[in-house]
Symmetry: C2
Amino acid sequence: MIARSAVVLLSGGIDSATALAVARHQGYLPYTLSVDYGQRHQAELRCAERVAASLGSIRHTVIQVDLRAIGGSALTSSTIEVPKNRNPDPEHGDIPVTYVPARNTILLSLALGLAETVGAFDIFLGANIYDYSGYPDCRPQFIEAFAHLAQLATKAGVENQGQYAVHAPLVNMTKAEIIRLGTSLGVDYSMTLSCYDPDSEGRACGQCDACFFRQKGFADAGLPDPTVYQD
Amino acid sequence: MIARSAVVLLSGGIDSATALAVARHQGYLPYTLSVDYGQRHQAELRCAERVAASLGSIRHTVIQVDLRAIGGSALTSSTIEVPKNRNPDPEHGDIPVTYVPARNTILLSLALGLAETVGAFDIFLGANIYDYSGYPDCRPQFIEAFAHLAQLATKAGVENQGQYAVHAPLVNMTKAEIIRLGTSLGVDYSMTLSCYDPDSEGRACGQCDACFFRQKGFADAGLPDPTVYQD
């Protein structure tokens, strides 16, 4: 079997680190891609770089795209507060203000550009539907629609050099299941950061939706939480 | 009739300027968007700004996204030369090295993010199939697939606040037809730049594919070419 290249989107959090470990476990040669979109927490980009190195990325690429020019999200606008202590319900909640307009479409389109350049037809994404508070662009039907688009969008696609696939191996898993899977594949979650509002040293706030799901995930998995929280 | 907002992708060239004029003519309130993707010719971004102002853009936004991190194109890589004097055949040519991997997917995804933020469901794109040397992401089936994706990708889409449409009003027009249409709608093409390799003063090379099609377009339209060429 010839090893195939894949592009893995890497945010610095639990899910994308686990997706990278899955891609490696399935025999792909992973090119990791982080997107610096002006999110408030640059700390997660440093985590992504460490995770990439620790899990055997062939090459780690960072692309800058300033989504603050678009705004519309608590993660990219300084005028919208990150919600705290709201005990979110992942199955019945509204789409929260941390939703970034068209984020996964933008991230996947950049991954597609990189994939075409490195000759990959497989893109891995850590999206999952349970834990992300109902973001529309984490749903399977979105992910399938993107793979269809990729085939039409690219030189490699129309020339039939290969068939694009977008892999979201965690899409139906709970955070606890993801953490158990990643732990079995050797992911060191102390390198990852989930918090929407970390301090300047990269310590998690312990109060936002992302911290809530992370803490619950480790508890449900019966594994120790290696996260460093703010005092 | 209530005027609807639209996002219009504006490159600084003939096609997108004409698409903006069409959007205005159809009664849309246009939010223009230019993407600074590290293309060699920053001059076209200055043209886009002038075109936006002259054709009544409600607000002109520039987003930086550094596609040089991806490479793979003569327009974003310093190691690939822009082809000159090759008399391209738009209907039978191969996809040229000026193809930027996944460019229109990336541009449309950014336009989608802006559309959601400003409450627009219509995106205008100057793509046309005849004159762009066979770029896959200028074809109608790509554009339709993107509109389908947009509906699934966004909070506004899943909440049924509206139906996304991607308008490519020039998609089946020749360059001459585009120039005639734009002229009838008041576009001042002296503000636009098509060249893939302009000099530092924004003067066109007169030798690349884009200059070839532009010159042929004005000639076929029977209109004077206002372009300033290098000596």
